[in-house]
Amino acid sequence: MQTSRSWRRLAPVLLALGVVVIIVLIILHKSANTTIYLAPSVANLQLDGKTIKPGGHYIVPGKHTLRATMTGFSDGTKSFVVPTKGATKVFLALSPNSVVGEQWYANHPDDNNLYQSIVQNEATSTSREQVTRLPLIKELPHVDNFYRVDYGKSLKNPNDPVATALYITVYSAAGKQQAIQWLTFKGYDPTLYEIVYIDKYSDGL
């Protein structure tokens, strides 16, 4: 009798407690706000040093770094920012640096598809960003009689894909000065840009 009465008293309390726990769990549970795409999908992946798998995750808003490694491929890192609101997609593709890596992609077409699309889209973004940073690109190459102005890889920042250097090929003693004059005329301060000179005049060409 005593037990039954006690139980009757405790039951609503336990029920209320259970509801509270469920509500707290619902509040605490956060759905995935970041989807990580990785090629190869089986590569070792670390988020801020902690091993994870590609796919959907809840990641605390802020700056983070992904790092992926796999034998046969160059290591890859990707820094990204998770905003406080909205979903984020992060793409990381490892380029093969050996026959082993190339063969792996050849044997895994889905991963290869993802790899190709990530790199193609990155290349396009890079191309657009380069033009935004240096609109002069849209007028290059500029070919003149004693010089020509081109653009290409930065030698100072070889690891920054967007970093661009101006390449000036000089064909006469006055070519360098004329090229600088042209850049200035176009509104670009030559001292603010990385310029690589290719001297074909001294070469006797």
Binding site: N113, L114, R128, E139, R148, D150, Y151, K153, P161, W182
Partner: protein
């Protein structure tokens, strides 16, 4: 007598029959020669012809006459040069008189012996068209189809000069201009282009405006006289040029084209217009023809592609390709290489396989690592481990390449502005790009 007459009649009949057969044979040969590749095309490719979509191949690109340049070359240009200049101008779709005017101006208003030798100026300009080394590097063209580009070769230099006129803004409808305001911009007259040929485009850009007189401050006397000379040559039908120049126009060195040791411009250019240079040209023209001339962010489906690409891509990659194929860079390059007829064995996909292909065919492709755009020539294919595009040279909209960017297998990039069907693109060499330059042999 009678017998002889009968024999004569029979002989005449026999000659007539033989003549008729010969004529039929000749017509047949001409028809066969005119469309040698047509019979080899697939039905869908024939449909493209039927619909008059410009389906570029070697024959049609430069050997055809679909877009005849404006102007007929003056009869006062020596025979030795007429055929060459007409063909070089035709390939570039420019007025041949402009090419001839530049040439004879470079030689002080005298028609030199086509065999040369050609002087080198103190500033380093050399060859029949007096190219500066840098300009030659940028515009050199194989005009005689020998697989080489030689600044001292008359045919190579003429085709290259025609290309330079186009590079400086010349088109089939470029007007001559006048000497009151010779440096107007819309339309760009030949007087401006001639100034750029002499002094460089940068100089003209810096020191002239659309309202500048011929002797705009900043221009050298040499350039001013050069522009005047070209103007007078064309307006007087090559009777005389600027009085400050010499005038030996009447004393043609060899007006028969038969000088000992003289090159044969006619034969040379016929080969050139359909040779390696023309093949490179058809890569460019095909790429331009199949891709939009503006960027198309986030337009990646078949319906977004240029109609010519919608028609051509399936002829290479099979009917009804998957939707995301339309934005694939490798498949675009393969479509250009195969449909142009330049390399019908070009690997269909992927970029890694395409890179391996060009590397393993040194008889077809020169391959070199890419560092900057001064290494590029129009028609080059740029390939990294996962991206590829075609460099087409500077275009009016500021782009210099044509490419596509893949939406991906799972359409993960469908909402990305970085996915697009073949369209305008600016070259970048970030990463492990190589340059693959077709050198003929297919």
């Amino acid at each position: 007598m009678v017998t002889r007459c009968n024999w004569a009649v029979k002989a005449r009949r026999g000659q007539a029959v033989a003549l008729a057969f010969t004529a039929l044979f000749a017509v047949g040969c001409l028809v066969t020669y005119a469309r040698p590749a047509y019979a080899q095309l697939s039905q869908s490719q024939k449909d493209l012809f039927a619909e008059q979509i410009h389906y570029f191949n070697v024959e049609e690109d430069v050997c055809g006459s679909a877009d005849a340049p404006s102007g007929t070359l003056s009869q006062n240009v020596p025979v030795a040069y007429r055929d060459l200049f007409t063909k070089a101008a035709s390939a570039a779709k420019i007025n041949p008189n402009y090419l001839a005017a530049l040439f004879v101006t470079e030689h002080g208003n005298a028609w030199p012996n086509p065999a040369g030798p050609w002087a080198t100026s103190p500033s380093g300009a050399n060859g029949p068209f007096q190219f500066m080394p840098g300009t030659w590097d940028a515009y050199k063209t194989d005009g005689d189809g020998d697989g080489k580009t030689d600044v001292q070769n008359l045919a190579d230099a003429a085709f290259s000069a025609a290309k330079l006129i186009v590079g400086n803004g010349g088109t089939s409808s470029t007007p001559l201009g006048n000497l009151t305001h010779p440096y107007t911009h819309t339309p760009l007259p030949f007087t401006y282009i001639a100034g750029a040929y002499n002094a460089g485009g940068g100089t003209m850009e810096q020191y002239t405006t659309p309202s500048s007189p011929v002797d705009a401050p900043g221009l050298s006397k040499e350039t001013i006289n050069y522009v005047k000379n070209v103007y007078y040559l064309v307006t007087t039908d090559f009777q005389h040029g600027n009085p400050s120049y010499g005038n030996a126009l009447g004393t043609v060195i060899d007006n028969t084209g038969g000088a000992a040791g003289a090159p044969s411009p006619s034969g040379a250019t016929t080969a050139g217009s359909c040779g390696v240079g023309a093949v490179q040209g058809s890569i460019v023209q095909t790429a331009l023809n199949l891709a939009w001339d503006s960027s198309k962010p986030n337009q990646w489906r078949k319906a977004d592609a240029k109609p010519s690409y919608q028609k051509t891509m399936p002829t290479v990659h099979g009917t009804d390709p998957p939707e995301n194929y339309w934005s694939d860079c490798g498949r675009f390059v393969a479509t250009v290489m195969r449909s142009s007829g330049v390399d019908k064995n070009y690997v269909l996909a992927t970029t890694t396989s395409q890179r391996d292909y060009v590397k393993s065919h040194p008889e077809l492709y020169d391959v070199m690592p890419a560092s900057n755009t001064s290494q590029f020539a129009a028609g080059d294919i740029l390939i990294s481990s996962a991206h590829t595009y075609i460099y087409v040279g500077p275009q009016p909209d500021g782009s210099n390449s044509r490419s596509a960017s893949w939406v991906g297998a799972n359409e993960e990039f469908a909402g990305s502005p970085s996915s697009f069907v073949p369209s305008a693109y600016n070259a970048n060499v970030a990463g492990d790009y190589i340059i693959a330059r077709f050198k003929g042999g297919v």
